[in-house]
Each structure stands twice: as C-alpha cells, then as structure tokens.
Chain length 136, copies 4
C-alpha cells in the first residue's frame, strides 16, 4: 500500500555536464522535486511540515542510472511513499522520458526530526495522511 504521484520537468542547461548529458547529482535534486509534489498532492506540503517543526533529512539515497537524459528533455518523475519501520519514511522514485524510456530509478530514506536534527516520533497527522492516501 503506497501513495503514487507523477510530475514532469524540463532538463536545465545548468544540469548538464561536459559529457553532454545530465550530471549525476542532479538526479537527487529531481528526487526532491518528486517528493515535494507527492507530499503536496496528499495534502502535506513539506514547507508546512517544516513550519510545524517536522523535518525529513535523508539517511540514505540510492540511484541507478538507466539511460541518458539531455538538455531540454521532458521528463516524468513518479514517486511513491511508504513508512520505513516505525520512525522513518521511504520514497521510491522513477524517472523516465515522456515515451517511457528509463532515465534513473532509486529511493531515499528519511529520518523524522526536529529543526535541530533530533529524531522525533512521526506525528499522527503525518502517519494518518500517508496511510489514508495509500488506502484511497
């Protein structure tokens, strides 16, 4: 039971490198775009979460690079969220071209912390929203 959401983006020139394709770290920045739009879609905008004192720093990231992407390509980012144990969240992200050719796939695992980086129990409003969205 997971929540899934798809958003799109255009590859910026600033995201390319001299290989003529996308620089590897940009994929983690796109994973963030996927997380942001998924959380907005289920009614939990991340900006509001931080305003309420709940932060989601990464504890792990993994990316598999599956195909080339170039400047101005029109990409799809499909994101899923699920609880990871009792105290963490996991996002699975899939990036493809508009015609489904794969670009990158991976996941990030996030702690739930205070502004100072102290682990906190995931608030009920967060857990409930994820569970109820997954069940829709």
């Amino acid at each position: 039971m997971t929540v899934e959401h798809t958003t799109t983006l255009r590859v910026r020139y600033s995201e390319t490198d001299q290989m003529g394709t996308v620089y590897n770290s940009r994929v983690l920045e796109w994973f963030e775009v996927g997380r942001t739009e998924l959380l907005r879609a289920i009614g939990l905008p991340y900006a509001q979460m931080e305003a309420q004192g709940v932060f989601l720093p990464l504890v792990e990231a993994r990316v598999r690079y599956l195909g080339r992407a170039a400047y101005d390509d029109d990409l799809r980012i499909t994101s899923r969220i699920a609880p990871e144990g009792k105290a963490s969240l996991r996002f699975e992200i899939d990036i493809t071209h508009a015609d489904d050719r794969p670009v990158a796939r991976g996941h990030t695992i996030h702690a739930v912390t205070s502004a100072e980086g102290k682990p906190v129990r995931p608030p009920a409003w967060l857990v409930d929203k994820i569970n109820s969205s997954a069940g829709e």
Copy 2:
C-alpha cells in the same frame, strides 16, 4: 585602500556544462569562495560573523566572462573588499588561470543584516577590521 587576498581552486566536473566549459552561475559560487577566504585571512571568518548575528546577503552581482575554463583547470581567485557607502560592503573578484589568462571578473555588493534580513549598521569590529587590514 582595499584588502586583497588570493586563493585557488580546481574546476569540478559538476561545474561544467554541455558546452564543455564552466556553467555561468558557477562563477558566482567561486566569488563566494573568494569572499570566504578573504574574510578568514583578515580574521573575520564569515561563519563566526553569522554566529554573531551579522549576515551579508547580496544586493547586486556583476560578472564579465573573459575566457574559457574547463574541468580540472587550476584557477586563482583574487578578492578585494571595501566599504560601499555607510551600510554596504563591496567585493571585487578576479578569476584567472594559473598562467594569468583571464576567466571572469566582477563584483558583488552586500547589505549588512540581521538573521531575519533586516538591515543593520555594520558593527564597529567589522568596519575596524576592514579598515585596519586595508592599511596594513
């Protein structure tokens, strides 16, 4: 009467773009490296300034791109600081190759503010340090 300081850096692959040279916005990131090292050299590490509640957000930046720089090039960043009016600071930055071929030149102008972005009068310890360093 200005303070001047030179530091060096290697161009990273992440700083290139598909033109095979450095992406234009990276030069502003290198200007920051120049400012950081100049402020450290005169005994005003910027991390300490922020810890004391003094921030230097940009109000203006100008860059002239004078020559190509590529991955792994060894560059020199020469920075100068001077007061700009009563409430601002100005950094002039010059970036060259090790053999003096020019890469970029420009300046940034900074407000002096609180953590919340409110303009504050530049503290005496800041003004004194800049003036005394310039006079050395």
Copy 3:
C-alpha cells in the same frame, strides 16, 4: 521593440541556503530557464540552435537582488530579448512572486559562437525571427 515571455517555476529545496532564502547563484540558473522558454516561444528552441552549430555563451551577467524568495515559492520569470550591437544578444529578466513582489532583475549578454567558441555572425534565421517576433 523587444520580444517578451513569461514562465513560472517553484523554488526547489536544493536552491536554498542556510540563510533560509535562495542562494544567489540560482538566480542565474533561473535566468537560463527564462531564456530557454522565451526562445522556444518564438520558435527558436535553444537545443535546436546548438544542433545547428550556433551557441550563445555569456559574456556578461548582472543581477540585482530585490526581495527574498524561499523554498516552494511560486515565481514568475519574464524575459525579453533584443539584439546588442551587430554580434551579440541581450536578455532582460525580471523575477517576481505571483503577487508581483520583486525577487531579482538583471540581464545577460551573449556572444554568438561556433561549438568551439569562435564568434560567428548571427545567422539570418536568428536575426529575422527576433525582429519579426518583436514586431508582432
């Protein structure tokens, strides 16, 4: 007589810094988004220009920082293009919040070059398109 085009973007978390606002160099990356979308709108996608051997490297950039922008803010980028002398192009860019509060304003000046960075005369199809779009 200039061509004008407006596009929008969301501020990414990766574009913020520890001041809690947007890091200064990101504005030049957004200027690029403005240029890309303006060129597409007038029928000159920049990816196609490069495929035809015409490159537009920056020779100058200037930014005035006019107001704070934060993570997840919804911004408007308004871009105008005009010839600059016989051999260059100039883009004027204005970035505001959705409610028109200013964020940044500036310009970039671009040489017209071959893939190797040699200046070339702006091709007629480029000049004609800019002039005819401006006259529409």
Copy 4:
C-alpha cells in the same frame, strides 16, 4: 587489494540548504572530488582519460548520511577504487570531519564507455594502473 587516497575540502555556502546543513546531492559532487584526486594520485588524471576517449559515467550511486556537516567545515574525503566485474569500476568513498566524526559514506559504480556512451573494454593501461597501484 584496493588503492586509497585522501583529500580535503571546505564546505561552501552554496552547498548548504535551509536546514542549515549540507544539501543531500552535494555529497555526490564531493564523491566526484574524491574520484578526481584519487585518479590523479595514481597517474590517471580523468581529464586525460576523457582526452583519450575513455569515459566513466555512473551506473549506480549509494550514499548513507551519517552526520551533519555545515558551512566552512573542513572535511576529509577518502576514496578507494577497485575493478567491479570485467567491465566496470567501483569507488568507495568515506567523508568525515577532521576529527573523524562521520559525515557520509557510499559508493559509485561506473561503466567504461566511449564519448558516445557505448560500453568499451577497459583499456589495459587503465586496468594495469589500478592493479599495480593496489599492489604497491
């Protein structure tokens, strides 16, 4: 039997985010700094490898985020290289504070390709250098 090399870097302001720590994707850019300096140390500067037509695009990256790093922190990047099967290379990277507190740890796996991204057999001069460095 692996080759190991340590380099250092200062955290840039541009690498922080509004959490007040380093933005997650920057770690992959630092992994690149580690790879670049390790390859230079064993006599295989990556800029020369590309000039000879050998490219090392990523096929996989994994990062575990182990501790906070902030602006101006002085970090150590320790990199190791080893063959991964017959056609790939693997870098293991460890990033710590100067006092050994961990920041991040992970690996990247790289294909060996032509400039066009076609897989090629790792050249003998590359394999020999890695093996002989490992044996030193």
